[in-house]
Amino acid sequence: MGNFRIPKLALSALALFVVVGGLSLAGVLNGYIVHIVNLSLIYVILAVSLNLINGITGQFSLGHMGFAAVGAYASGAVTTLVFRLQPGTASGYAVFVGAIVLGGLAAAAVGFLIGFPSLRLKGDYLAIVTLGFGEIIRTILNNIPAVGGPRGLLGIPKFSGFGVILLAALAALVVIRNLIESSPGRAMLAIRENELAAELVGVDTTKYKVLAFMVGAFFAGVAGGLLAHLLQMAHPTQFGFMGSVLVLIMVYSGGVGSLTGSVVAAFALTFLSEVLRIVIDAAAGATGLPIGGEWRMVVYALLLILIMLYRTEGLMGTRESKLVLLGEDKP
């Protein structure tokens, strides 16, 4: 019986596609707005996949952008350095899609590698290890001349568009939602609730923590690949600690464990970021104070503090919209 809601989710994605596509064709939405929508959808993938690790499985990861970096560089290297693709051909597009999947798989492999040694750690210690991992990835990329070193990987063909990004976001949502509402997903939830009790009802906790990391890393890698082919570059600083924190803020402000919350927060914070850019620039211009775009992070940090003080459970708590949920058995 569960399946009749999948079309509902697909339908709302289609509606978004028609609205955004139609409005931009009609000239109401300019390229800038469409670009922000694209970025929002990429952040949806990042937030939803981090939510699987942090919210559903209860593991505190601070290195999500590290996985995105692996995906961005791996897919970018394939399309740019190996195939030297130019946008516009069907075969080129097929290679691009393959490269994105490959980027996701590479990130998942890295997730697996860091998973096994570090998942014996809990709480703060795991957070520190994942933080270190993110920085290691960034530093490694900074020092590989073949992918541009500190200049970044430039000249990546622009293959990412609204359609493919929307499809990828939908896929991430459906896969992670289906996973949550199944036996492996319940095992992950049980680990979050009480790891020892999970182990004592027969859950191989290490296996499911590694699985959560791998699936989360896969979609982060896909998001990174799409981002690289949208911005036409991959740069080490894009994938630094602050990037991971931004995704973390999305997960926590949307509601830990709520995919709906992650979607809403990804859109809200991406748009807020653009609004702040304009507001802060205007404020700097009006007052003559030396403040720049990086002050956005101050606003985010304040937002996070306010959420932790006044609405710890985030916007949605663990609740889900009926659009997202299959859920015949949720309380």
């Binding site: 569960g2 289906n178 020892l196 009790a197 009802v201 859950v203 906790t205």
Partner: protein, 256 residues
């Protein structure tokens, strides 16, 4: 009757402290067996050793003849020995039904890909797990609570939920850590009837820790008494309760 659980010369030290000392045990298959002793006598440590939370410093633990010493907890559960906790460990923000279903987890075959793709075999399996879990909840008179968040249940129901969850792993040995803790006399009476029923219906051996002498005398067929990690008596509940060493341990020298 053969022993379903056999412990040979088990000793466990926390640093210099011998929490359990040369512990020997044979729990006969199909029995309701009690482990009693004053506070801090090492009962829960013994349970933690048998269920794999700790690895004993010395000795062997045999479950159905297989050596499970030092095995990981989930392996021991999968081998057929499940437990409950003295201080409840319920998955609070999961539904009551999901608390049961997660315990059926290791017997399901649907892994990541089947779950994500929602294949027909996945759906059949989910339906079967759901049906069995609901039956188990019905047995515990919790079926009306299936969709509630588990943390909202009153204490007595949480205790029953934990027993149901342990049973959902399809154990042949059920270890209950102070199942009557914090219960009123009416609830204790219900619990005793429930444990006896569970033993008969599920064909499990019950091994329990208990403070409540009424429970021990009421349902245990055999008990072992430990104090400071050492075994001080073993036998039928009535005879053990008259043992001077047991009286001394519980009441002090003058009581005996």
């Amino acid at each position: 009757m053969s022993a379903i659980l056999k412990v040979e010369g088990m000793t466990h030290r926390f640093g210099g402290l011998r929490a359990v000392s040369d512990f020997n045990l044979e729990v006969p298959e199909g029995a309701i067996y009690g482990l009693i002793g004053p506070n801090g006598s090492g009962k829960t440590t013994t349970f933690n050793l048998i269920t794999g939370i700790y690895t004993p410093t010395e000795g062997r633990i045999l479950f159905e003849g297989r050596d499970i010493t030092g095995a990981k907890p989930y392996r021991i559960v999968q081998a057929g020995a499940a437990r409950t906790f003295q201080n409840l460990r319920i998955f609070g923000s999961m539904s009551v039904l999901d608390n049961i279903r997660v315990a059926r987890h290791y017997t399901t075959k649907s892994g990541f890909f089947r779950s994500v793709l929602r294949t027909p075999s996945f759906k059949r399996e989910e339906a079967a797990v759901r049906e069995e879990s609901m039956a188990l909840l019905a047995l515990m008179r919790l079926e009306g609570r299936a969709k509630e968040e588990a943390k909202n249940l009153p204490y007595g129901e949480l205790r029953r939920l934990e027993i149901a969850r342990a049973l959902a792993t399809r154990p042949r040995l059920l270890l209950l850590d102070e199942p009557a803790a914090g219960m009123n006399p009416k609830e204790v009476a219900d619990l005793m009837a429930l444990i006896a029923r569970v033993r008969d219906e599920f064909k499990v051996t019950v091994f329990l820790i208990e403070h409540h002498m009424k429970v021990v005398k009421g349902i245990c067929e055999r008990v072992k008494v430990i104090d400071f990690g050492e075994t001080i008596a073993e036998g039928e509940p009535d005879e053990v309760c008259r043992d001077p060493k047991v009286l001394e341990a519980y009441l002090g020298k003058r009581g005996a």
